[in-house]
Symmetry: C2
Subunit: 262 residues, 2 copies
Amino acid sequence: MDQRAIGMFDSGVGGMTVFKELMSSLPNEDIIYIGDTASFPYGGKSKETIIELSKKQIQNLINKNVKMIVIACGTATSQALKEMKHLFSIPIIGIIEPTAIYLKKENIKNIGIIATAGTIRSRGWEEEIRRKIENSHIQSRACPLLAPMAEEGWIDNEIAKLVIHEYVKDLKDIDALVLGCTHYPLFQRLIKQELSEKVKIINTGKMVSNEVKEYLKKNHLENEKAHQPNYKIYLTDTECNFIQVASRLVQDKTIIKNIEKI
Amino acid sequence: MDQRAIGMFDSGVGGMTVFKELMSSLPNEDIIYIGDTASFPYGGKSKETIIELSKKQIQNLINKNVKMIVIACGTATSQALKEMKHLFSIPIIGIIEPTAIYLKKENIKNIGIIATAGTIRSRGWEEEIRRKIENSHIQSRACPLLAPMAEEGWIDNEIAKLVIHEYVKDLKDIDALVLGCTHYPLFQRLIKQELSEKVKIINTGKMVSNEVKEYLKKNHLENEKAHQPNYKIYLTDTECNFIQVASRLVQDKTIIKNIEKI
């Protein structure tokens, strides 16, 4: 009933894994992605700076006439989502809440979280999960090597195995492991090998796309017009290896076309 | 004869290894360091953006009344040094030229360069060395995992060994290997193990401090007043793990005090 695109932004290329999940679960929706590559990464920046950057990208997306916005960036979600919801009337979904809702629904209380150092330091995941789930027991681990390893394409070699072992070996008695960085679904297979069978591995991109789908349905905002969907990617700085890394992340080169500087 | 401080800036914490070299070879000089942590890393940014950022930090240093400036950042050196020299009359030394001068003086022609992906992509090292040394044969290798590994403190474990092996194994018949990123001196020992005895490993921080020393001497700009030198660190964004990482890089916590937001 609403043919406008879904808007999304990330500090860089990582959110492309969320893009891929949205594409596959909502094949009729147009999507506009902004990668704020000029300011990448948000990780080391202050709350104040991240709020300013998020405001700018949300305004950019609103100017492109989107119907809702996904903040496909852990840092921006944990530092700026609340403020953005206050500032803008357009529906905004972050990357953290959908996973927390799922964990609550499944009654999972022993939870591991792996993410970049910046995201772990911000405690965004931890606080959101604690807010939603009483008596939850959370173990967090910063994994600064995983994102560059994904960008290098080392997702299945001896080094990747050792690094992942090093990162998850101290997570004890968890029932679910949240992949708190959008790069990490690439390592899902290796991570699974390191953990006991019963541990659920949570791909946050999938959680987000489920949430978006549900939201559009409930509010009658789906695009019901049969058409080949339009995908458009804007970057704030084009001199970066976005295409190369995005191809690795989504493992499908055909998605990554139609890139423009904003 | 000139008691003003030496100014230096980097996009983040990496330049602290250069800071350390300056301290040890010029024990009488005051040093002011700016870490442009709000814009870290410069790696993925366009030339235009890096020129703007460099201009701002050089102006900040000039306002602090420094006598000369070291750009302790590979990306800023390769993208903006020439423009900064045009724009400002204060002496400015980058991180690349001192090494190229040394290689020329030693008549080394088969040269390996390892650096971050952004630095390698910018071709700054390669072009400067080619300009200085005729018939040089250069092999470059981007090593995106080394900087985060240094920040993680994994400088001597099995993973570090494997990663370094992977990065240097294809560099054949080189006589010198340039550590083109300020984080890499931490891996000097492991890198040495991977290479033949005769390969010189070039710590660019050392090259820079030699060049600064020579420049000050030649121009009678040394601080000859006997005193306990003042070291001051400014960050453009203080909410980052600068102190933790800097301690690892310089392996001396006492250096990292007196930090302020600029």
